[in-house]
Amino acid sequence: MTAVSTRQPGRLPAPRLLLLHMVSRRVPAAVAALAACGVVLRLALHWGWIGGAGPGAEELPVVIEAAAAAVIAVATASPFGEPERATGRWLPYLRLADALGLTLVAVGVLAAGAAAAGLPGGTLAIARNVAGLAGLGLLSAAVLGGLLAWIGPMAYAIVAGYAIIEAWTTPWMWPARPPHDWGGALCAALAFAAGLLVTSVRGARTPAHE
């Protein structure tokens, strides 16, 4: 993988390099997990667990979106640890491509799962929530390490559940805001941009023993 980048320093990484990087981050398994999130969303809509009057009707989509964000964040973990950082200059771009690509896949599969089923907020809310939560997950990866990065989206999803129930108005709780709300969208975009930037440049935190 890294040999390719050192032999061709001036060119874009070859598809093979990108492919190997994706495999090292378990991207195929992550895509399968994201597809499972889409299926769960579809089933939840089908069985009326979303959009009704009972508890969880509004929180469940956020939890599923947070699960997708957790998958994106966990996929940042490197199996090579510290040595990988010294192996060429394409690594930040490869990380960026991974995170961006998985986020797009997540939005796509969740939108497909919600298609024609009347998810409150629609695709716009899915895109905003997934992007923001993925940003938090990526920031968690930078702080806690890739394998523990799921904690960030999970904690946020729990608090967001209360924000939805108690109708908080802060834009930092974007799942509680209407889908066309600019403040919520801006905060989610900021979180996503910060997560992408930090994780692309620095990568997920590598535990000392690795």
């Binding site: 997990a33 009972g54 508890p55 469940l60 966990v74 523990l148 799921w150």
Partner: protein
């Protein structure tokens, strides 16, 4: 061939001597020191404080209300379950992460024993934190609740549910280790809890849904633990269910070939079967659950002692006639007295008017039960727990209006419905004269609705009569009014 394929019989032999005997304890101490759970505890405690703890402090000073959110609706499990499932999955997959699976397989301690030790350390941290959080919540509530004691069986059921999430997460991490296992366990638990909560709130849900740890249907109402004990049947059943799940998951951990010798694996299989049997039994028992006046009863687990009323000495004051409430509702007595005085003044001395007001327990079978005037001499039986008890307890206009409404509703004999047009008109008029404006009456309880124009007009005429004329008309027509035979045209 890896070391995992080495026959496990030698590994089943424990080291002898003093060090060997002390090994499980030493292992447990090591696991306790190296567990990831303490690092997650601040987050879990913060969530518990944010949700269950804050929610318990805001209600009326009754144990049933204070614990309904956390223990009745299972918010304690929601606060702990997802994160502990993820943390336990992380702990269970430790050997996979550190690439030491083969290395530890050939150690003298059987793999099952080692895994159970790691599981025990995880459980110790989590249950100690759970116990401390509940104790702190009860301690804070005990300063405000003035009567009775907190329910303990729901705490045991909650602790068992948290242990079950921990164990299932640990087993998932140990048996299917990957980087996605911990988030899968955590979010799987979270989604399961939300769906369980959703099902639990559906009044049409099957009795089997009682097995779900966050199903609050029929578990606690205001007078649970006040007039009669908390019904522990559902908690017992959930304990059996979660205990079975824990046993089954622990047994499964000992089934792989590298877990230990043949004897150990047979024991693991027996534990798995016993756990599954307990789980199935609990689900079967949940199917027999039925709602009774004091909560949900499961006949096979029911103890008749929990149906006996709790003895108490009422607290009384006077609003022209004695007004008595349960000592747990002592703080509401001034409001109840102040609320009843204007309506009692209008009907005092009438034949059939109550000579005493006494609080009766609310019933699960009548979620918003009506007050009634029965007996000789007549006594108003007031299910105070069915009203929206205000917080803080003093000087709440809506509460007072509700008390007046249920009194007048019982006085005109409207029973469990809204009553006939004449009864509605007299009820509306008496309430208006007692200081509850017509605009504020609809929606106070299920017994008051927006009156029809004809009812409103009749009520206006009746309310406009002088007090003495109203009193005289009621003295002459109260029996007919209560029987429902009067029409609007017969009102003055």
């Amino acid at each position: 061939m890896t070391a995992a394929m080495v026959p496990a019989a030698p590994a089943a032999r424990r080291p002898r001597g003093r060090g060997g005997r002390a090994l499980p304890g030493r292992l447990l101490r090591l696991e306790l020191r190296h567990s990831i759970v303490p690092w997650l505890l601040p987050l879990i405690v913060a969530l518990f404080w944010f949700d269950s703890f804050r929610g318990s402090l805001g209600g009326p000073p009754l144990w049933s209300v204070r614990t309904f959110l956390s223990l009745g609706q299972g918010h304690d499990v929601i606060d702990f379950g997802p994160l502990v499932a993820g943390a336990a999955a992380w702990a269970g997959s430790r050997e996979f992460r550190s690439h030491t699976t083969d290395l530890v397989t050939v150690t003298p301690v059987p793999r099952w024993t080692a895994r159970l030790t790691a599981w025990a350390a995880t459980i110790c941290w989590i249950e100690a934190t759970f116990g401390a959080c509940i104790a702190l919540m009860y301690w804070a509530d005990a300063h405000q609740v003035t009567w009775g004691g907190p329910p303990l069986w729901p705490v045991a059921a909650g602790a068992a549910a948290v242990a079950a999430f921990t164990t299932l997460g640990f087993a998932l991490g140990a048996l299917l280790p990957s980087r996605f296992t911990a988030p899968l366990a955590a979010f799987g638990a979270f989604i399961a809890l939300i769906v369980s909560s959703h099902i639990g709130f559906d009044p049409r849900s099957s009795p089997y849904a009682q097995i779900l740890p966050v199903n609050g249907q029929g578990l606690i109402n205001y007078d649970t633990g006040v007039f009669y004990p908390f019904q522990p049947d559902v908690s017992f059943d959930r304990l059996i269910f979660t205990g079975g799940l824990i046993l089954a998951a622990l047994g499964v951990l000992g089934l792989p070939r590298n877990s230990g010798g043949r004897t150990l694996r047979r024991a693991a299989a027996a534990v798995t079967v016993a756990g599954l049997a307990a789980t199935g039994t609990a689900v079967g028992l949940a199917g027999t659950a039925r709602l009774e006046a004091h909560g949900i009863v499961i006949p096979a687990l029911h103890d008749a002692a929990s149906d006996r009323p709790i003895p108490y000495t009422p607290v009384c004051t006077s609003a022209g006639i004695p007004v008595c409430v349960h000592p747990a509702y002592r703080s509401y007595l001034p409001d109840v007295t102040a609320a009843l005085s204007p309506v009692l003044a209008q009907v005092g001395g009438l034949p059939g008017a109550p000579v005493r007001v006494t609080q009766v327990p609310s019933s699960y079978l009548e979620p918003q039960g009506a007050a009634s005037i029965t007996g000789s001499p007549p006594v108003l039986r007031l299910p105070l727990g069915d009203l929206g008890l205000p917080i803080p307890v003093s000087d709440d206009a809506i509460f007072k209006a509700q008390v007046r409404l249920v009194f007048v509703h019982a006085f005109v004999g409207a029973g469990q419905g809204v009553g006939g047009p004449a009864q509605q008109a007299v009820q509306t008029a008496l309430l208006t004269r007692a200081g509850v404006p017509l605009s504020a009456q609809p929606g106070l309880t299920i017994f008051s609705q927006t009156p029809a124009p004809a009812v409103r007009a009749a009520a206006g005429r009746f309310a406009a009569l002088p007090a003495a004329a109203r009193h005289a008309w009621l003295a002459a027509h109260l029996a007919a009014l209560r029987s429902g035979h009067l029409t609007l045209a017969q009102l003055p």
